[in-house]
């Protein structure tokens, strides 16, 4: 209980810190919507050139991109700023975090929660709701549950990727943009139906790294479509499981990273 209040206090501090720069906060908040809108607009642009993409119609493709966008933006909003870890490691701010009586990851997330990205999340949820209406989905209790769980599971999955790639900074302070290949690269991958991709790249990202289970497989399950790539129908329902595995892996690596933390001279 006391611990929850402690985290709430951290969050409140971040909010009040932001308010000391009110104007720049508002500007950032508005410009941030643009980024999300672009993801969706890109899909519309493609469908101006063709009626179907890899056998998927526009409403189906919008469902996929909106599931991906919800998951990514929720993760980006909550733990996305963890990629600033490399700055904290370099400047030694991590020391200050580690001498406080709270979990390091939770502190970093709350100290840096990007409120300016909040509208992006709202927009992404809006597009998902529209996409769910556009497609003629035969609603069953299982599908309702799936529609609710998939964005959350996807967010956990992306969150794990964020933490994993940020953890690199514990070993290599100059980990640079290697992590972004998997976070932003993963977002772009999940924005389109998997059959769009081909070869070893598809196998690696969709099944090896699990990005296929963020939006594509669940979308198939919601639509009641068979997978052109041959995975069974229940593949759409394993996304929470994939997310949990990724989260467990991220937790392990994070823990090892904190133990490996070397601080900086002072």
């Amino acid at each position: 209980m006391g611990e929850l209040r402690a985290y709430a206090a951290l969050l409140g501090a971040q909010w009040r810190s932001l308010l000391s720069y009110r104007a720049s906060f508002l500007v950032e908040m508005v410009t941030n919507i643009g980024a999300t809108a672009l993801d969706v607009v890109a899909v519309f642009v493609i469908f101006r050139a063709t009626r179907t993409v890899a056998g998927f119609t526009l409403p189906e493709a919008v469902l996929i991109v909106s599931l991906s966008s919800c998951a990514f933006n929720l993760a980006d909003f909550t733990v996305g700023n963890i990629d600033r870890l490399k700055t904290y490691v370099r400047t030694g701010l991590m020391d200050a975090v580690l001498v406080r009586p709270l979990g390091a990851l939770a502190q970093l997330v709350l100290m840096d929660l990007p409120f300016r990205k909040a509208l992006r999340l709202v927009l992404a949820v809006g597009v998902l709701l529209v996409a769910l209406r556009l497609n003629a989905i035969e609603w069953t209790p299982a599908r309702v549950l799936l529609a609710l769980v998939v964005p959350l599971a996807g967010a956990v999955f992306f969150g794990a990727i964020f933490v994993l790639s940020a953890s690199l900074a514990f070993w290599w302070v100059d980990s640079g943009d290697l992590g972004s290949a998997f976070t932003y690269g993963g977002r772009d991958f999940t924005a389109y139906p998997v059959p769009v991709y081909a070869g070893w790249f598809r196998t690696l990202f969709a099944y090896g790294l699990g990005f296929g289970f963020v939006s594509y497989q669940p979308a198939l399950a919601l639509l009641g479509r068979a997978d052109p790539l041959g995975l069974p129908a229940w593949a759409g329902f394993v996304s929470p499981l994939v997310a949990l595995v990724a989260a467990a892996l991220a937790a392990l690596v994070w823990r090892a990273g904190v133990r490996h933390y070397r601080s900086t001279g002072s």
Binding site: L10, G12, Y21, D95, L98, Y261
Partner: protein, 312 residues
């Protein structure tokens, strides 16, 4: 809570802390035991491993080898529990919220450390008074001067009533007045006897003012552990007696209990190194020789001693 019979133990024995590509021993096998209520000065040249030791004691860094225990807890595995019982001031890292007023940082820390409101208020009142914080509690931290901020940091580290206070260069970069303020505050804190103080510094005046015990490390090893006096004894530094006489000092003069170091050209001013703890007998013998116009006793300079220690 059974702090009464627990003697507070610190044992650091760590080696081979990896830095960059080579294996470099930042802290190379240190054994220390610090009792509850002690005030320990931890000094050494740059890169001797002072900060590294402190970071291992506070759970920031994982020791490569050896055993550490602080307040009976293992710093890294029990980091969050330990954090509630220790206070840490890293001179060059802030615990405060940059964009918020100082007072707000203190309020937040109450939640972070889950301190009962009354205790928190009492400690804050005491710190505000002793450190004279009243004038800038409403100022955002980013606008504070270094001296003001450091006083804020000290307060922040103490609001949860820690059993041990770790200070890494608390007076670095401060002006003379701020240094004095910080030192007298720490002296008062240590005099209470219920807070253990471990401080690293480059400013030996901090140590002379505050610490009974001095631990000197170099290349990650302890080279001296004891009182400042013990350090002087070990390195043969003496107090110096300077006398102004009415009549010139006779040539070949010797006096029991002191050795003559130098004489001015007019032979009316002479310096002696005292071989005994008290200056009285030597002064009496000199006074018997001729009337003394003036005399002074100069304490040995710890800077010199430490410089010699680092060099050896």
């Amino acid at each position: 809570m059974d702090g009464l019979r627990k003697d507070f133990t610190v044992r650091v024995r760590a080696g081979r802390l990896r830095r960059t590509k080579r294996e470099v021993a930042a802290v190379d096998g240190i054994d220390l035991r610090i009792e509850r209520g002690e005030m320990v000065g931890y000094i050494g040249p740059n890169g001797a491993g002072k900060s590294t030791t402190l970071k291992m004691l506070t759970g920031v860094l994982t020791p490569s080898a050896g055993a550490v225990s602080v307040c009976g807890l293992a710093p890294v595995p029990q980091r969050t529990r330990l954090a509630l019982r220790i206070g840490v001031v890293f001179g060059q890292r802030s615990q405060l919220w940059w964009d918020l007023p100082l007072g707000e940082s203190f309020r937040l820390l109450r939640y972070l450390y889950r301190v009962p409101a009354a205790e928190h208020a009492a400690r804050l009142r005491r710190c505000t008074e002793l450190l004279d914080l009243g004038g800038f509690l409403d100022t955002p931290v980013r606008q504070l001067s270094l001296g003001q901020r450091m006083r804020g940091e000290l307060t922040a580290a103490l609001l949860h009533g820690p059993e041990v206070l770790f200070l890494d260069e608390p007076t670095i970069g401060l002006d003379v007045v701020s240094k004095q303020a910080v030192r007298s505050f720490l002296a008062e804190l240590g005099a209470g006897g219920d807070v253990t103080l471990v401080l690293t510094t480059h400013d030996l005046a901090d140590i002379e003012r505050l610490c009974r015990r001095l631990v000197v490390i170099d290349h990650g090893r302890v080279v001296h552990d004891g009182t400042i006096e013990a350090l002087h004894t070990r390195y043969g530094s003496r107090r110096r007696l300077v006398v102004d006489l009415d009549a010139p000092l006779p040539a070949g003069f010797t006096v029991e209990g002191a050795t003559l170091v130098s004489v001015e050209a007019d032979r009316c001013r002479a310096s002696f190194d005292l071989l005994t703890d008290t200056a009285g007998p030597v002064v009496a013998r000199l006074a018997a020789l001729s009337s003394l116009r003036d005399l002074s006793v100069v304490e040995p300079d710890i800077e010199d001693v430490v410089a010699r220690l680092y060099a050896s």
